[in-house]
C-alpha cells in the first residue's frame, strides 16, 4: 500500500516535470529574446524550486545546459559566422585581394562588436536565469558539487562559440577564437602603425577572454586570455619591435631613437590600460625594453650620433633620454657608465696630451744661433710652460664642469654615475705626471692675479674648483711639496693679493685633507705675522735709540722657522748653497744693519740662530744718475730701484767705484761671495735686460762670462721714477726636467720616511703581523697621502729589519717589532 502510493506520487511528478520544463523553456526563450518583463519571476522561481524539491535538480540542470548549448550554437554562432569574410578567417592580410586596410578594419570592428554584444547578452541572460534557478544552484549544485549554472553556461559559450571550428578549406579550419585573436593582433599592429581602432570593442572581447577559464578542470587560475591571446601577443610584439629596432638604428639618430622608444613604451602601457589587460603591462613593457633597449643599448651608445656625439654637442636632453632608457633596464646603468667613462678618459687624455705637447716645447728653442735671443726665449718658454700648466688645469676644470652639468641635468644626479665619473677623472688626472704641480701653479696664478677684482663669491668658486681637482690627486704629498714651495714664494715676495684668501684656501685644504696636511702651512702664516711684529718692533727699537741717520737703511725682515719652510728649493739648488750663503759679503752699511738686528733678536729670543737668506730678499735703492742734457735743460735724474738683495750688493760695489772704471766678473764675485749662478742671474738682470741696464757689460751679449767687464751705465734712461728690476728667477714657474727629477727624488725620500713611520706605527700597535698583511695595512694607512709603490714598501721593511727595528719571528714569514723604542716585523 505504502509502496504503491509512493510510486503513484512519483509518476505524477514525472508528468509534472515535463510540463513544468516546457513552461520554463518557453520562458527562457523569452528571456533570451529580451521579453522577460512579461514573465513573473515568482512563478518561474516557484516552478524551478518545486522541481528541485522533487529531486529533479539533476534533470533540470542538464536541460538548462542543453537549452543553452542549442541556443548558442543555433542562434549566436550562426550570426557571428555570417560576419566573417574569408579574409578575416585566414587572418592573412596578404590574401585580402582587393580589400583595403580600411575595409578590413571595418569588417574586423563589426565582428568584434557583434561578439561583444553576444557575450554581454549571454552574460545578462544567464544572470537572470541564475536568479530564477537560484534554488537549484543553492541546493542541487552545492550538494552534488556541480559548478553553478552560470559558470557552466559561460564555459558553454567558450566551447560552443569561441572554440567552434570554422572550415576554411577542405582540410583546414580555424576556431572562432583564432579568428578573434588574429583580428585583435592585426588591429593592434594597425594602431602601432598609426591607424585609429575601436579600443572599446577590443577591450570588451579581452574582458571576455579574461573572464573565461582556459579549461573546465580549473587547475590553476589560467584564463583563456593568457593561453589563447597573451602568448601570441607577446610573440608578435617581439617580432615587431625587433624589426623596428633595426630600422630605427639604421635610419634615425640616437636622440630620435630614444624619443621613439620612450613613446613606444608609453603607448604600450597605455594600450594595456585602454585596450588589453593590466596583467600584460609588465610583460609587454619587458618586450619593448628587451627589443628596443636591452639588445640595442650598445649599438645606440656607439652610434655616430650616440653618447659621444651628444656629449660633444651638449645634447643634454638626449643624454637624459639615454640615461632614462638605460636606467629602465639596468639599475646600475652599466652600458652608459662604461661609455661615459671611456669618453671622459679619452677627453682627459686629449687634455693630457696637449699639456705634454706644450711641455715638450721646452727643449725646442734652437741651439744658440744668437746668444741674446736664446736667453729671452728660455725665459719666454718658462712662461709659456706656466701658461700651458694653467691651461691644463683650466681645461680639466672645463671638462669637469661639462660633465657636472651633464650629470646633474641628464643623468638625474645619479649616484652610480657620479662615482664612475669621479673614478674616470681621477684616472686621467693621475695619469698625468705634472697634475700636482699644475694644480698648485693654477692656485698660485689665481692668488697672484686671478682673484683680482673678483667678488667673494667668485673667489669662492675658484677655490672650490681647486679643491675639487685636489680631491682627484692620488699623490697628495707631491702636491703638498709644490704648494708649500709656491706658497713660500708668494709670501716672501709679497705676491699674494690677499692673505685672507690664502688662509681660506688652507682651511679648505684642512677640511679636505686633514690637520696634518696643513700644519706647516699654518705655521708659515704664523711666521709671517710674527715677522711683521718683529719688523715693527725693531723699527721702534732703532727710533728709540735715536740715531737719526738719514742714510739709515730700513729693514723689513722675515724670520722663518727652518723646518717649516721648504727652503731647500729656494733659488740656488747647488749643494754648496749653505756655505755660500754663510759667506756672502755684505756692504758695510748692510752689515751694520744685520748685526744690529741680530743683537735685537737675540735679546728677545735667546738661543736661536739666524741664517740670512740673501737670495730671497729684495731692496729698494734710491739711485742718482749724472745729469744729462735734455730739451728742458739739465735735470738730476733720480730713480728708485727695486732689486734683489744680491742685486743691491752688486750695485753698491759700483757706488764706490770711480766713474769710468769697471769690474770684471771675478772681481765682483770675489768681493761679494755670491754663488756663481746666482751672480750670473743677478748680473743678467741689471746689465742685460734691455729696460734695466744699470750696468754696462762688455762685450755686450746675452750670456755672462767670467771674463766680462761691468761698469756703471751713466747714460741710463727711464721714463719711470720707480724701476723694478726683474729677477730672472722670481715667480713660480714650471719646473724644468732636471728640477723635476730633483723634486721627485726629494719626494721619494720623504715618502720613505713616511713609509717607515707607518710601518713602525703599525707594528707597535699590532706586535705581530705577516709580511703580506703589513704591506696591505701600510698601503691603507698611506692612501690619504699618496699611493705608495709596493716595492718601495718592501724595501723599507727590509731596511728596517737591517737596522734591527723589526725582526722575523723564528725565521718565518711573520714579523714582530724589536724592543723599545724600535719595533719589528716579519718578512718573506
Amino acid at each position: 500500500m505504502a509502496l504503491h502510493n509512493f510510486q503513484g506520487l512519483n509518476n505524477g511528478d514525472e508528468v509534472d516535470f515535463e510540463s513544468t520544463w516546457e513552461t520554463l523553456a518557453a520562458s527562457f526563450t523569452q528571456i533570451h529574446t529580451k521579453n522577460a518583463s512579461l514573465l513573473s519571476f515568482e512563478q518561474l522561481y516557484r516552478q524551478a524550486y518545486k522541481i528541485v524539491l522533487k529531486k529533479k535538480g539533476d534533470e533540470l540542470y542538464k536541460r538548462v545546459a542543453s537549452f543553452e548549448q542549442d541556443w548558442l550554437t543555433e542562434k549566436i554562432l550562426a550570426k557571428l559566422k555570417g560576419l566573417l569574410s574569408n579574409a578575416l578567417i585566414s587572418g592573412n592580410s596578404a590574401e585580402t585581394g582587393g580589400q583595403t586596410a580600411n575595409e578590413r578594419l571595418a569588417a574586423g570592428d563589426r565582428f568584434l562588436r557583434e561578439l561583444k554584444t553576444a557575450w554581454e547578452e549571454h552574460q545578462l541572460c544567464m544572470s537572470m536565469l541564475t536568479d530564477v534557478l537560484m534554488y537549484m544552484d543553492r541546493v542541487y549544485c552545492t550538494d552534488h558539487r556541480q559548478p553553478s549554472i552560470y559558470n557552466t553556461a559561460m564555459a558553454l559559450f567558450r566551447d560552443c562559440v569561441l572554440l567552434s571550428r570554422i572550415t576554411t578549406s577542405e582540410e583546414q579550419w580555424v576556431t572562432m577564437l583564432g579568428v578573434l585573436r588574429n583580428i585583435i593582433l592585426e588591429q593592434i599592429k594597425m594602431e602601432r602603425d598609426g591607424d585609429i581602432i575601436d579600443k572599446h570593442a577590443i577591450k570588451a572581447c579581452i574582458y571576455m577572454l579574461e573572464g573565461l577559464e582556459a579549461k573546465d578542470t580549473s587547475n590553476g587560475p589560467e584564463k583563456l586570455y593568457s593561453s589563447a591571446f597573451e602568448e601570441d601577443f607577446i610573440r608578435t610584439s617581439h617580432d615587431f619591435y625587433k624589426a623596428e629596432g633595426e630600422t630605427l638604428l639604421r635610419e634615425s639618430d640616437a636622440g630620435t631613437y630614444c624619443r621613439h622608444t620612450k613613446k613606444r613604451i608609453d603607448e604600450e602601457l597605455d594600450r594595456c590600460r585602454s585596450t588589453l589587460s593590466d596583467s600584460t603591462t609588465s610583460k609587454i613593457e619587458r618586450v619593448v625594453e628587451d627589443e628596443l633597449i636591452r639588445n640595442r643599448m650598445n649599438d645606440l651608445i656607439e652610434m655616430d650620433s650616440g653618447v659621444k656625439h651628444m656629449v660633444d654637442n651638449e645634447r643634454l636632453s638626449d643624454l637624459g633620454l639615454i640615461f632614462d632608457l638605460n636606467a629602465r633596464v639596468d639599475s646600475k646603468k652599466t652600458d652608459l657608465t662604461k661609455a661615459v667613462q671611456r669618453i671622459v678618459v679619452a677627453m682627459g687624455t686629449a687634455i693630457n696630451n696637449a699639456g705634454a705637447a706644450a711641455s715638450q716645447t721646452q727643449p725646442a728653442p734652437a741651439p744658440e744661433t744668437d746668444g741674446d735671443k736664446a736667453k729671452t726665449t728660455v725665459a719666454g718658454v718658462a712662461n709659456l710652460l706656466t701658461v700651458a700648466a694653467i691651461k691644463w688645469v683650466e681645461d680639466v676644470l672645463e671638462l669637469k664642469d661639462k660633465f657636472d652639468n651633464v650629470w646633474s641635468t641628464s643623468f638625474r644626479s645619479d649616484q652610480a654615475l657620479q662615482t664612475a665619473l669621479t673614478r674616470s677623472f681621477a684616472e686621467f688626472i693621475n695619469a698625468f705626471a705634472r697634475s700636482s704641480e699644475n694644480i698648485s701653479l693654477f692656485i698660485d696664478d689665481n692668488m697672484k692675479k686671478g682673484i683680482k677684482g673678483k667678488t667673494e663669491y667668485e673667489i669662492d668658486v675658484v677655490l672650490e674648483k681647486a679643491i675639487t681637482l685636489l680631491r682627484y690627486i692620488q699623490d697628495k704629498d707631491m702636491f703638498d711639496r709644490y704648494y708649500k714651495r709656491h706658497l713660500t714664494k708668494r709670501l716672501l715676495m709679497g705676491k699674494s693679493l690677499s692673505t685672507d684668501v690664502e688662509k681660506q684656501m688652507v682651511s679648505r685644504m684642512k677640511i679636505e685633507l686633514g690637520n696634518n696636511f696643513t700644519l706647516k702651512m699654518e705655521s708659515m702664516f704664523k711666521d709671517m705675522t710674527l715677522s711683521e711684529e718683529l719688523t715693527a718692533g725693531y723699527k721702534e727699537h732703532v727710533t728709540k735709540r735715536g740715531d737719526p741717520d738719514p742714510r739709515r737703511v730700513d729693514l723689513d725682515i722675515k724670520v722663518l722657522t727652518s723646518m717649516t719652510w721648504p727652503l731647500e728649493g729656494m733659488g740656488a739648488s747647488s749643494e754648496s748653497d749653505e756655505d755660500a750663503r754663510m759667506k756672502t759679503i755684505y756692504p758695510p752699511a748692510i752689515e751694520r744693519l744685520k748685526m744690529g738686528f741680530e743683537k735685537y733678536y737675540s735679546e728677545k729670543h735667546s738661543g736661536r740662530k739666524l741664517t740670512w737668506l740673501a737670495n730671497m730678499g729684495t731692496a729698494d735703492i734710491r739711485a742718482t744718475f749724472p745729469k744729462v742734457p735734455s730739451k728742458n735743460g739739465t735735470i738730476v735724474r733720480k730713480h728708485e730701484l727695486n732689486v734683489s738683495t744680491y742685486g743691491m750688493i752688486v750695485l753698491l760695489l759700483f757706488n764706490d767705484l770711480p766713474s769710468g772704471e769697471s769690474l770684471n766678473f771675478e772681481d765682483v764675485q770675489s768681493r761679494t761671495n755670491i754663488p756663481t749662478n746666482e751672480l750670473i742671474r743677478t748680473l743678467q738682470s741689471v746689465a742685460v735686460s734691455p729696460k734695466t741696464r744699470i750696468l754696462v757689460k762688455e762685450p755686450m751679449s746675452k750670456d755672462v762670462k767670467p771674463t766680462d767687464r761691468f761698469s756703471f751705465n751713466e747714460s741710463f734712461e727711464s721714463k719711470f721714477a720707480k724701476i723694478k728690476v726683474l729677477s730672472i728667477t722670481s715667480g713660480n714657474k714650471v719646473e724644468g726636467d732636471r728640477e723635476r727629477k730633483e723634486t721627485e727624488k726629494k719626494n721619494n725620500e720623504s715618502r720613505n720616511h713616511n713609509i717607515e713611520a707607518a710601518v713602525v706605527r703599525i707594528m707597535k700597535q699590532r706586535k705581530e703581523l705577516s709580511h703580506q698583511q703589513l704591506v696591505s695595512e701600510t698601503l691603507t694607512q698611506l692612501a690619504s697621502q699618496f699611493k705608495p709603490d709596493v716595492v718601495m714598501i718592501k724595501k723599507r721593511i727590509e731596511s728596517l729589519i737591517e737596522r734591527e727595528y723589526l725582526d722575523h719571528i723564528d725565521g718565518g714569514d711573520s714579523l714582530r717589532p724589536l724592543g723599545p723604542p724600535a719595533v719589528r716585523i716579519e718578512s718573506p
Partner: protein
C-alpha cells in the same frame, strides 16, 4: 534615551507600520503588504532576484506570494522588520518617526483624535494583555494605517482585522505553533533567508520540547518531512532528537498513522527504535 539599536528598531517598526517609502508590494492571499526593497532584497536571494532583473515584478513592484502559506508569509515579513516573529510588541512602535512625533504639529491633534475614538473598543484587549502598561498603540497604528493608502492595506475592515490579529496573538501564545514554525522554516529555505531559518528552527525545537504531547505534532511532522528537500536536516534532526528523548511519542496513534504517508519519517523512526544512526 534609546540606544542606537533601539532607535533603529523603532524606525524599522515605524516603516513597517506606516509603510512610508514603500516601493514594493507583497500579495499574500487576501492581504497586501507594503514593504521596502532596501530592507527586503539584501536579506533574501529571492527578493533580490525578483527586483534586480527585468522581470514583471521589478516593473510592477508587486510580488504575488499567494502560492505560499499566508501565515508564514506574514511572519516572514514581520521578521524582516523586527528580526523576530510572531507579533510581540515589547516596545511601543510609533506610527510616525521619532523626530516627527516631536516636531510635526499637524500630526499631534490627529493622533489624539484617533486615540480617543478607538480607545473604547480596545480597552478590554489591552487590559487582558498587560494591565500595567498603558494602552498599547498597536491597534491605534493599525487604525491609523487603515486610513492611509500606503500602509498595509487590509481588504476587510480595520476593526475586524485588528481583532483577528489579536486572536492570533493569543493563539500563538497558548499553542505550540509547531506547524507555523515549520512553515516559516520551509519558507525561509525556499526564499533563502538563512537567519530566519535558524530562528524558526530554534523556536520549533523549544516548542517541541515544551509541547511534546500536543496534538499538533503529527501535522508538524508531516510538514517537516514534506516542506523541505530531503537533504535539509534542520527540523528533521530536531524531530528525531525529540523522539529519542520522548520515545513514547512514537506510539501515539496519530503519529503512527503518519507512517504510510511519510515514508522518510517511517524509515528514520525505525532506525531510531533500532538504535541505528540516521545517516
Amino acid at each position: 534615551m534609546d540606544s542606537p539599536q533601539n532607535e533603529l528598531m523603532s524606525a524599522m517598526a515605524t516603516l513597517h507600520l506606516g509603510g512610508k517609502y514603500s516601493d514594493l508590494t507583497i500579495l499574500s492571499g487576501t492581504k497586501s503588504y507594503a514593504v521596502h526593497r532596501a530592507i527586503v532584497c539584501p536579506r533574501s536571494g529571492f527578493f533580490d532576484g525578483a527586483c534586480s532583473n527585468q522581470f514583471q515584478e521589478s516593473r510592477t513592484g508587486v510580488i504575488d506570494l499567494s502560492e505560499d502559506d499566508d501565515e508564514a508569509v506574514e511572519q516572514m515579513i514581520h521578521y524582516f522588520y523586527y528580526l523576530d516573529y510572531p507579533h510581540e510588541f515589547e516596545r511601543k512602535p510609533s506610527p510616525v518617526f521619532r523626530h516627527r512625533a516631536a516636531s510635526d504639529a499637524r500630526r499631534k491633534p490627529l493622533k489624539k483624535l484617533d486615540l480617543s475614538t478607538i480607545e473604547d473598543p480596545q480597552a478590554a484587549c489591552c487590559g487582558a494583555q498587560s494591565p500595567l502598561t498603558p494602552p498599547d498603540e498597536q491597534p491605534d497604528a493599525y487604525a491609523l494605517a487603515g486610513k492611509r493608502p500606503r500602509s498595509p492595506t487590509i481588504t476587510m475592515s480595520a476593526d475586524a482585522e485588528s481583532s483577528e490579529s489579536e486572536e492570533e496573538e493569543e493563539d500563538l501564545m497558548e499553542s505550540p505553533n509547531l506547524v507555523t514554525h515549520s512553515r516559516v522554516y520551509a519558507l525561509a529555505e525556499k526564499y533563502d533567508i538563512p537567519s530566519l531559518k535558524l530562528l524558526a528552527a530554534q523556536k520549533f525545537e523549544v516548542a517541541l520540547a515544551c509541547w511534546f504531547d500536543s496534538n499538533e505534532i503529527p501535522d508538524a511532522i508531516e510538514d517537516v518531512y514534506h516542506g523541505t528537500i530531503d537533504s535539509d536536516r534542520g527540523l528533521r534532526d530536531i524531530v528525531i532528537q525529540a523522539l529519542r528523548c520522548q520515545p513514547t511519542m512514537a506510539y501515539r496513534k496519530d503519529v503512527k498513522s503518519l507512517l504510510p504517508e511519510v515514508p522518510q519519517f517511517a524509515a528514520e523512526l525505525w532506525k531510531v527504535q533500532n538504535g541505528q544512526p540516521i545517516y
